[in-house]
């Protein structure tokens, strides 16, 4: 089963991209129909793949390391579920939201192209394909950021484009060095060779290139300059995808895969990730407080939360990685939810400036309630999911005797509460401005994703034990057990 489903995860969105573009020329309503159909199919497949055994798909029957492989292990399964779940819900949301834009067909095509890239990155078993799929997803996202073609959006998009391509080039440089040292681009094969030749000066350079590239893609401070411009400028569904899953699939997932599966959890890499995480969590949190633009605040908050994930992964203990992966899942859910909420609010009020809003609770109950749930989750109130993942990260940091990091993590979670209280106070409560006295709730196709994501926020907190057994524990095992990864791909005892 999984040998059919794995290539389909990449092939389906790619096929539908082309179909939408061709049929869209004659009938412009095809975009939403095929878009929802495709994301529903990939979401269904990603659910099926969770229970499937770990497996390797050899493209064209060529045996690795000669052929191209796709690899499905615990980590890939988790990422596939997160990516496709959010893509499906965001696609439903887009149907109504994108009505005010022109050239909608291109939006759906680019969206599916981005999904192709992300699924490919998550499944890819060799470094060069990782680079290619990263570029596919990035190119689609560069175009989507500037989709509204207003001055600010173009400026943000261009900035993102330049920095993003610089990061991609750095990743390619890293791949080239790895190829020179090991004579292969297959991750498992390269990992085998690298274990034999460590320590090596050229490897250090390759590590530096990879860290620069992936840290920029995941928006970690000090490579975050593009993120607070690009994420708010995009249309709300795209912001939700960018902040929710793109920075994780291209950044956090890729760096985890390279650090653990290729470099076998090299201490230097983990320490750098840990420090980047600390700085990101702190700086992102601090910069969020002063923002008045709601989407910009959410973007800075993403930097801060990705910092948490990076801290959990950088500490390198099983508890830390499991907590980080749980937080990754949670962040995709509640940041996706909050960006979709911000889109709903922007659609009805016509502004993103929080100072001009107020009292929306009376007028838009579903949006407001889901904003409250999202804010409570991200600031870590029990019983929502954010509380458990942050708590687990902090406990893991304490257990590893990283007291400085644990202290900063606790401090930043207070900061997080502060700015989400500000969000709620300014948008949802207080007097309703006169101009908004007759606004309505958003249409039902937009409220369904909001309600679903809110329910997941609550359910993931309550059913953590179940999720842990099904998703996070196998994912952690897959991250930490390099020997199993190598033997799975190459079919040799290692």
């Amino acid at each position: 089963m999984s040998t059919v489903a794995m290539p389909l995860m990449v092939a389906l969105p790619m096929l539908f991209t082309v179909l939408i573009l061709i049929i869209g020329k004659f009938w412009r309503y095809i975009g939403p129909i095929l878009g929802v159909a495709c994301t529903a199919a990939t979401f269904y497949l990603s659910l099926l793949l969770i229970t499937a055994p770990d497996s390797v798909y050899q493209m064209g029957g060529w045996i690795p390391p000669i052929g191209i492989v796709m690899i499905l292990d615990g980590l890939s399964k988790l990422m596939l579920l997160v990516v496709n779940l959010l893509a499906f819900l965001v696609m439903i949301y887009s149907i109504s939201y994108m009505n005010r834009y022109t050239a909608q067909t291109k939006f759906y095509a680019l969206f599916l192209l981005m999904l192709t890239g992300m699924n490919g990155v998550v499944l890819s078993g060799d470094l060069f394909n990782l680079f290619v799929f990263t570029e596919i997803a990035s190119l689609a996202s560069y175009a989507l950021v500037g989709f509204g073609v207003e001055s600010e959006e173009l400026e943000a998009g261009f900035k993102y484009l330049i920095l993003g391509s610089l990061a991609s080039t750095a990743i390619l440089f890293g791949v080239a060095i790895i190829y020179n040292l090991t004579g292969t681009v297959n991750m498992a094969d390269a990992a085998n060779m690298i274990n034999a030749i460590k320590p090596n000066t050229a490897l250090v350079f390759a590590i530096g290139m990879f860290i620069f590239g992936f840290a920029l893609k995941s928006g970690l401070v000090p490579f975050h300059a593009w993120l607070p411009d690009a994420h708010p400028s995009a249309p709300a569904p795209v912001s939700a995808m960018l902040s929710g899953v793109l920075i994780k699939a291209l950044g956090v997932y890729a760096i985890t895969r390279v650090a653990f599966s290729v470099f076998n959890g090299e201490k230097v890499i983990l320490d750098i990730i840990l420090w980047f995480g600390l700085i990101s969590a702190f700086v992102g949190g601090m910069l969020s407080i002063g923002q008045d633009d709601i989407k910009r605040l959410l973007a800075f908050s993403s930097i801060s939360q990705v910092g948490y994930i990076a801290m959990g992964i950088g500490i390198g203990t099983p508890a830390g990685i499991a907590a980080a992966l749980f937080h990754l899942f949670n962040h995709a859910v509640f940041k996706g939810l909050l960006f979709l909420d911000s889109g709903a609010i922007e659609m009805r009020t016509g502004t993103r400036d929080m100072r001009q809003m107020g009292g929306l609770m009376k007028r838009m109950p579903v949006t407001s309630l889901s904003t409250v749930i999202g804010s409570l989750s991200i600031s870590g109130f029990p019983p929502f999911n954010g509380f458990f993942s942050k708590l687990l990260i902090i406990i893991a940091l304490f257990q590893a005797k990283a007291y400085l990091f644990a202290g900063v993590a606790i401090f930043v979670s207070f900061i997080t509460i502060a700015y989400y209280v500000k969000v709620q106070k300014q948008i949802l409560f207080g007097p309703l401005p006169k101009v908004y006295s007759n606004i309505k709730e958003v249409p039902i196709s937009m409220t369904i994703p909001l309600i679903t994501l809110s329910v997941i926020c609550l359910a993931a907190g309550i059913f953590y034990g179940f999720l842990n057994n099904a998703l996070f524990y196998p994912a952690t095992q897959a991250v930490l057990n390099q020997a199993k990864y190598i033997s799975m791909v190459l079919g040799i005892g290692g």
Binding site: F128, V132, Y142, G146, F158, L161, S165, P228
Partner: protein, 116 residues
């Protein structure tokens, strides 16, 4: 070794062009130079002086072929990378045209409506 040094100089020039120049087109040129220097680096990894094309013709000695043939894999990788670079370049040019329509300038330092 010298060729790699020269390649790194091209890489450095690209970085300089990207950072120091304000003109959008010059920034794009800088970006392209960086991409090409990395492509060149990949090609150089597989290249051999007086090497032969990596196509095995009938009657050719395998050992001799393996000794003299250049490495074909980096060339295949670079082809892919060039295509990706073309896509990026097209998108960058499209962005530049749109930016010029909106701001009536190519100067990056004057294109700053966004805060911080």
């Amino acid at each position: 070794m010298t060729v790699f040094m020269l390649d790194m100089i091209i890489f450095g020039l690209g970085i300089y062009c990207l950072i120091a120049k304000r003109h959008l087109i010059k920034k794009i040129i800088g970006m392209v130079i960086i991409e090409y220097s990395v492509n060149l680096f990949l090609i150089l990894l597989g290249y051999r002086m007086q090497g032969i094309a990596p196509i095995l013709s009938p009657g050719q000695d395998i050992v001799e072929f393996a000794k003299k043939g250049v490495d074909p894999l980096p060339q295949a990788l670079v082809l892919t990378s060039i295509v990706i670079g073309l896509g990026t370049l097209a998108l960058m040019s499209a962005y530049t045209i749109k930016l010029y329509e909106k701001y009536k300038t190519f100067d990056m330092s004057e294109i700053r409506k966004l805060r911080g």
